[in-house]
């Protein structure tokens, strides 16, 4: 589904050319939930943004769904993907359903059908009663669920997640992870997830790449341990 061949990237940091991604080879299979972990500055978010074409590699090639990602193809290929951000990145001047419908407004299509689908997705993420609410009135978990519904409205084949739970508390994080797992199983969507939280990666990912200084230091296969909602009380009293 995603293939990276000898991908490298340099950034100018403090006026000095610094290699942030160094000759990475990687593939992500169809329907897989793939994790990218590493310390801050290890290059995991840069890799994610290179996978959806937002950042262009200086060396190497990236293939999405079998097609080479370059300046000519990236705008078409990115429409087959979607992204979930750490800070949700919802538009504050739009209400919940308008936010979900936004990607469809950028494409041709039947708006009446899209509204119906947006309502179905709102029900899927458990926010049906918030259709007309504005973003400022929602909690962090609700905002991320709106962002997930927005992600799904275009039927993406790949979802990129950049620290999707790091702005949320533990219980809300597990709700979001359960939702992502559901999406993966129900819609057979490939998911690539960046996180610094080992627990998050272990709970849903089948494989994980550990990044260090712009390189993959380990590629590990996992057996997802499952998603258990934990309250603060349970967490501290369970021993």
């Amino acid at each position: 589904m995603i293939r990276l061949e000898k991908v490298s990237k340099d950034f100018f940091i403090g006026g000095e050319k610094t290699r942030v991604i160094d000759g990475i080879n990687l593939h992500v299979d169809k329907k897989e939930i793939f994790g990218l972990v590493g310390e801050t500055g290890s290059g995991k978010s840069t890799i994610l943004r290179m996978m959806n074409g937002f950042i262009e590699p200086d060396e190497g090639s990236i293939y999405l769904m079998g097609k080479l990602l370059n300046s000519d193809t990236r705008h078409e290929l990115v429409k087959e993907t979607s992204m979930i951000f750490q800070g949700f990145n919802l538009l504050g001047n739009l209400n919940v359903i308008e936010n979900i419908l936004l990607p469809t407004r950028l494409r041709k299509g039947n708006q009446r059908e899209n509204i119906g689908k947006a309502r179905e997705l709102l029900s899927f993420v458990g926010l049906s009663e918030f259709e007309e609410a504005y973003i400022r009135t929602l909690s962090g978990g609700q905002k991320q669920r709106v962002a997930i519904a927005r992600t799904l409205i275009t039927n993406p084949r790949i979802i990129f997640c950049d620290e999707p739970t790091s702005a949320l508390d533990e219980k809300m994080s597990y709700e979001i992870l359960r939702l992502l797992k559901d999406i993966n199983e129900r819609f057979e969507t490939t998911i690539v997830m960046v996180s610094h939280d080992i627990g998050v990666i272990k709970s849903v990912c089948s494989r994980v790449a550990v990044m260090e200084d712009g390189r993959i230091s380990e590629l590990i296969s996992l057996t997802p341990k499952g998603i258990e909602p934990v309250s603060y009380k349970e967490a501290f009293l369970s021993g």
Partner: protein
């Protein structure tokens, strides 16, 4: 004392209406220019400036330079400097129509700089969000930037309008007329202070009306 003011108002009713119309005439033309050209210039500066998606030093230097120069020349001198330009465009350097040119230029510059600042205040991640959704550059402007900056832009346009009203008061120097000219020529120079104060109060009411309308529209549009 109140009678004197009423009597002055009645005596000058016709020139007051005429001057009010001249002010609105100058204002409407320059507001339209500021809104359209200023918005486009503001977008160009935002796109080509530091951190912009089409960073281009030469274009930014030219647009920003125009905006800075226009705003930095004392307006009364700017009006005089513009007389040959008015002549070139309209065939005359004087009159209400000629006044619209310097007034429009200052309006364009003010609103362009405001627009650039308003767009810079929008969440920086919004460009990446629009890209990830498959938006074109034009869709990024219309569906994302304009939507998120709309209430700030309304407030900026309100401030530009109030400034233009203030600038319009000196257009009498090239025969632009308007309320300001009437207050100075008939009021101050003729020791008719009642007329001067009537016009000052009228201007205060107009500014108050513009600002209140702008605030209300911005408040209605801001859902953040």
């Amino acid at each position: 004392m109140v009678e004197r003011y009423i009597e002055t108002f009645n005596r000058f009713r016709s020139p007051l209406v005429q001057s009010l119309w001249e002010t609105f005439d100058m204002m409407l033309a320059s507001m339209a220019a500021a809104l359209v050209i200023g918005l486009v210039l503001g977008f160009i500066m935002f796109m080509t400036g530091a951190g912009g998606i089409y960073k281009n030093r030469a274009v930014y230097f030219m647009t920003s330079g125009f905006v800075n120069i226009t705003r930095s020349i004392p307006f009364i001198l700017f009006i005089i400097v513009m007389i040959p330009v008015n002549r070139m465009i309209l065939g005359t350097g004087f009159g209400v129509d000629a006044s619209k040119i310097p007034l429009s230029l200052i309006g364009v510059s003010l609103f362009a700089r405001f627009t650039e600042q308003d767009l810079l205040d929008v969440n920086k991640n919004i460009f990446e969000t629009s890209y990830a959704m498959g938006a074109s550059t034009l869709q990024y402007f219309t569906h994302f930037l304009l939507r998120e900056a709309r209430s700030s832009l309304v407030l900026s346009f309100t401030s530009t309008t109030v400034s233009l009203l203030s600038y319009s008061t000196v257009m009498g120097i090239i025969g632009g007329g308007g309320l300001g000219y009437l207050a100075i020529s008939e009021g101050y120079y003729n020791f008719n202070y009642e007329l001067m104060w009537i016009i000052i109060i009228l201007m205060v009411l107009i500014v108050h009306g513009i600002q209140t309308a702008g605030n209300n529209i911005a408040k209605k549009l801001d859902k953040r």
